[in-house]
Symmetry: C2
Subunit: 140 residues, 2 copies
DNA sequence: GTAAATGCAAAGAATTTGCTAGCCC
DNA sequence: GGGCTAGCAAATTCTTTGCATTTAC
């Protein structure tokens, strides 16, 4: 479980992966990152992508999002923030809402352990999907 | 994506699965449910477990929790509530904290779509794991 | 020079699916 | 009795891993 590695080297591959993640706000899957990195580095392997994504998460450079039961998604924004998920199209948007650290304290009173962090996600229908819905209901 | 099924039948298998989930607060995995149901119904198949868990989630009888990148876990408590997750042992506890519906409204102002729901999870170290940590640090 | 990282491919783990027989309504 | 379900097993899908080679420091 604990990785006793001396240090982490800088590699072109990891640099490219991080750059791809920093330049998008789409919260992509590992495979999407793979396709992107391949454009400038045709020989990267998926294994390298997965290994580096894991490393980047451990380094705190990237966040791992687990939504629904299919793919894991990655968030190139390392700062704490909340998300809005569209139930129709699956899109994930970053929210500007300030993080509410008092929540941790409230919970700390109830839990006998220690509370360090929290994750908050909102669900609904995004503007585009609402527009589509009203169009198709007019058709009917 | 849309299942155009006429109706949902009651079956012994689904009944057993729901009973197992209602009688535990451990937020088990599909496989754990499988092992439990097998005790009273040795011929159930894992496929049936997965199919029914999916159906139960769609029916709103059960909640699906996705934490970390490994297994999906299921929560037999159909009411909205928050969770506390121990980062050390992975245990998930239900919280008594009242759900804060105002949060949806706050976010609704920022998002151009519609916000229906939210999910809030706290992370930390549970009491048991904290006890173990202090013991092992005394050993050192 | 040496340990860490890559590429490639094969293995693994969790979940889904096709098909026939059986059970619910 | 018709159609949803179960059982069984094979298939998928996403992710991890072993190993020889390459690369960063």
């Amino acid at each position: 479980m604990v990785k006793a590695k001396g240090f982490v080297r800088k590699t072109k591959q990891r640099g490219a992966i991080l750059r791809v993640l920093r330049n998008t706000d789409t919260h992509p899957t590992a495979d999407w990152v793979y396709q992107e990195v391949r454009k400038e580095m045709p020989h990267v392997s998926l294994g390298t992508i997965y290994r580096n994504l894991k490393t980047l998460v451990e380094m705190g450079e990237v966040q791992e999002l687990c939504y629904g039961s299919s793919y894991t998604r990655f968030d190139g924004n390392p700062h704490r923030h909340y998300h809005f998920v569209c139930n129709e199209c699956g899109k994930i948007e970053d929210l500007e809402l300030d993080c509410i650290d008092e929540l941790n304290k409230v919970v700390a009173r109830e839990v006998s352990g220690r509370v360090y962090d929290h994750r908050l996600e909102f669900y609904g229908t995004c503007a585009e999907c609402m527009a589509e819905e009203s169009v198709s209901s007019q058709d009917a």
